[in-house]
Amino acid sequence: MNGFNIVIKDNFLDKDIFKKIHQKINTYDYSAKGNQIEGINHIWFSCKAEDEIKKIIKDKCEKVLNKKFKVNFCSYTLLATVEPVVHCDLTELCDYQIILYIKGNTNLHKGTGFYLSGELNTHIGFNENRAIIWHANTYHSPLNWASDDKSRRYSIVCQLKEL
């Protein structure tokens, strides 16, 4: 498959869990260490999510996609990117990827863009508690570069291997 396989789900987490994460997500120590894409400067800062959160995200994704997954990694992320960084994350450890927007300004231009043949084709705005799940062969980029608002956005990113 070469095209998109994308699911967008608002109100992804139950209110109580979302609130708990929302309150804490800007209190962690974030690091750029290990967040490298070959040939591209680091673009985000992250902090490993707790096992409890990892399991909640995995279970929700399994329910939405009706598939079973093993989690490759699950991290809180902090982003303030000003340049488009188009890439895909398909590896032998990652079949699907999810980004769950946790804290930031609601904005069409602060979400995620999806690309076809190097051209921006689809963009999904930032909205707290919105999840986007896509097949890992899809080229994408954070969209902060398209916004005048350069404020930080906090999310959870997970990579999932289909079992």
């Binding site: 396989n5 967008i8 789900k9 009706n66 705005g125």
Partner: protein
């Protein structure tokens, strides 16, 4: 929940259906639901109702069931093939027809400014670009609109399935 799936049909079947739609079907002018005046503002585009070709209707239903893992129990008679009017945004919902929409992009230029947009709290917050052979499934109460375009005489062929009743192996969306 909104689902976007590319390569909805296999290549040969898609090409055959697209050629048939472009060359064999007669479309009729369609105006927005609830409007009586046949003005440019109310003009939605041209539509061919799938009830006029049950074989084609069946192909779209079966492929939708396969790709979205649902069983379509009742499809509204307004379901059809559209040549959309793209000169202005027309935000609307389709709850008078259905619970769930499936939009299939059949013919048109690939572009972010040629697809479908969605609104949250009345603010535009998603652009789903056009790509031939892409299908989008979304709840009928989600405010949406064809993307307006400045390109004169731009034609975009899409299929809209208005699903009144459906069931799924997964949880309801």
């Amino acid at each position: 929940m909104i689902k976007i799936i590319d390569d909805f049909f296999e290549d040969i079947l898609f090409t055959n259906i697209k050629n048939y739609i472009v060359s064999e079907i007669n479309f009729k002018p369609k105006y927005l639901e609830g409007t009586t005046e046949k003005t440019q503002e109310n003009f939605y585009g041209n539509r061919f109702k799938l009830s006029g070709n049950l074989e084609l209707r069946s192909i779209f239903i079966k492929q939708s069931e396969k790709k979205f893992n649902i069983k379509i129990d009742t499809l509204d008679d307004e379901s059809g093939i559209d040549i959309r009017n793209l000169d202005h945004f027309v935000p609307h919902i389709d709850t008078s027809f259905s619970k769930m929409n499936i939009l299939i992009m059949m013919k048109g230029p690939t572009a972010v400014t040629n697809g479908t947009v969605f609104y949250t709290d009345n603010k535009l917050d998603m652009h789903i670009g056009f790509r031939e052979n892409r299908a989008i499934m979304f709840p009928s109460d989600k405010l949406h609109s064809p993307h307006a375009s400045n390109t004169p005489n731009l034609k975009r062929y899409t299929v809209s399935l208005f699903i009144q009743e459906y069931s799924t192996k997964m949880n309801k969306m």
